[in-house]
Symmetry: C2
Subunit: 124 residues, 2 copies
């Protein structure tokens, strides 16, 4: 038997379940074949502790100000900001200021299982 | 010699060159290791003809209304819309209505060379 014909699938974030993965950090996840796309909403004051994962991560910031800490360096991103974090590089992030942050994380290859491997629990 | 330590890189779309790839279709492209991220701005009335490429494509729509045609089926996406188009599946798109469309296309694996292989030139 031949493989089934691949098909395109469309949806809207409004139809995707939201999980609060950390206090004030809300996440929605979709998976394609080669990549996973995660939409994040970070409340003001929220923090994502330093962690790492095998997937390369590209983050696209839509609104607010978010500061990534990577290897002791800070990257301050606002609307239109983009950061590429290589595979297995530890990183964390915190919201700066009073505006919520909306961003997309694209993980490639597709996230396989447990979504985050925390390696350090201190706030960044 | 050991490989250099991978580093994270950040930038902003405002620092990325824009190309008009088709009338009214403006594109900015960034490449990571496993994926390419393309920001599109489509003017009202603009059309991207049917084409295909080996990379899987995920499109995230930020504003406006865009209609994708894939295998004779239409997918109408507005803000928050997401579509995943498998590798090598022919697809095209057109703006509907009077609002410009902003979207991100994420291509995985990373786009290697010539960005689009057009296989059909009729408008969709």
């Amino acid at each position: 038997l031949s493989d089934p014909k691949p098909i395109a699938k469309s949806t809207n974030w409004s139809a995707v379940e939201t999980e609060e993965v950390l206090p004030g950090v809300h996440r929605q996840t979709m998976h394609a074949t080669n990549q996973s796309v995660v939409r994040y909403l970070y409340a003001p004051g929220s923090v994502f502790p330093i962690h790492a994962h095998p997937e390369e991560q590209v983050t696209l910031v839509l609104s607010g100000t978010i500061v990534f800490e990577i290897d002791g360096s800070e990257h301050r991103l606002t609307a239109g900001g983009v950061i590429a974090i290589p595979s297995n590089v530890p990183h964390g992030a915190r919201v700066e200021g009073t505006e919520a942050v909306e961003s997309f994380n694209i993980l490639s290859p597709r996230r396989a299982a447990d979504p985050v491997v925390a390696i350090e629990r201190r706030p960044v």
